[in-house]
Amino acid sequence: MAIALLIVLPLSAGRDMRFAGADGAARDQVTAIAPAYKPWSEPLWTPPSGEIEGLLFTLQAAFGAGLIGYYFGFCQARFEREKKI
């Protein structure tokens, strides 16, 4: 309810904004402060595209959500079973 609102509001309010990560802004800030700085290492592996990255994030969320759902299902079942006793 409130949570959905908090997320929907900025999306609808900032329709023209690009919603890049806070990263982009931070990275620009780093560049602004220390233009000579260059990252000295690269990630071992990067997702081939934005879509794949989205997929991986989704998988991560889905995996976690699945576990959480399992736990609550387990608790609910236990609750019901114990109510009968």
């Binding site: 990560g21 931070a26 780093v30 290492s41 976690g64």
Partner: protein, 252 residues
């Protein structure tokens, strides 16, 4: 939207100078080691809470994967460590949080291996400790479980970001105004963006705690979050019983 070379919540690969990266890793390491030790002892003392522990970890996974838009026009993700910190104490969140960070660094190019120490410090050490401290303080002041959790999770989230801003400011002090100047700039980016996200995190965590107190009260009693009261009159209209501070769990 690629995460390569960007600083979403966590500092991206290679964006912290070597010295800093090593230093932060050295600072985080004792916390992670201590956390692993505490993890073992928690599992040993409360074996029936293992599933809940896994769920807390899953919570971090989920929230770390959710990029949410913010009012400033950028997006970021909440941390999710508040739940575990409130339930199990902040110590165990160090290794758990680091594990999630490692996963994200390796598979999502989000955060980094070189910056793992720094990111772990902000998200797996400072975040949980702040959350736990806020929670304990609230409970001591007899604040309700849900409100305490909300404040703990929200402020913990915010503390994580402020720490990240501070880490970046230490590494990249402004040419003119030094650390403070950088802190203002980085802080402005992270801190303001995070306000709605921290609130969302607080709300979600409080919701989960509420659900847990209803359906998983046994584990919460086990963890000293809830106290079993023999007299039902003390339960409020929600059926929640008056709660106790986790005095036995958590802490250093």
């Amino acid at each position: 939207m690629s995460c390569r070379g960007v600083l979403l919540v966590h500092i991206a690969e290679g964006f912290l100078p070597v010295g800093h990266a090593v230093a932060w890793s050295a600072v985080s390491l004792p916390f992670v080691l201590h956390g692993m030790y505490r993890l073992k002892s928690v599992v040993r003392r409360h074996p029936e809470t293992r599933l809940l522990l896994a769920t807390s970890c899953a919570f971090v996974f989920v929230l770390s994967a959710l990029k949410l838009p913010s009012v400033t026009g950028s997006s970021s993700h909440p941390t999710g460590v508040g739940l575990g910190a409130v339930l199990f104490g902040p110590a165990v969140m160090a290794p758990l949080g680091t594990m999630v960070l490692l996963f994200q660094a390796l598979l999502l190019a989000h955060g980094g291996i070189t910056t793992l120490g720094a990111n772990a410090f902000s998200m797996a050490v400072v975040g949980p400790w702040v959350a736990f401290a806020v929670f304990t303080l609230c409970r001591k002041c007899r604040v309700s479980l849900m409100v305490s959790t909300f404040l703990a999770a929200a402020l913990g989230d915010w503390a994580t970001y402020l720490t990240t801003a501070a880490q970046l400011s230490l590494a990249f002090p402004d040419a003119a105004s030094g650390f403070a100047g950088s802190m203002l700039k980085f802080g402005a980016i992270f801190a303001i963006t995070q306000i709605p996200l921290a609130i969302v995190e607080g709300l979600v965590t409080a919701l989960v705690i509420d659900l847990l107190s209803r359906y998983s009260s046994r584990e919460l009693v086990e963890l000293s979050l809830l106290k079993e009261r023999p007299d039902e009159e003390l339960a409020d209209h929600d059926g929640n019983r008056p709660l106790d501070c986790p005095s036995t769990l958590g802490g250093a």
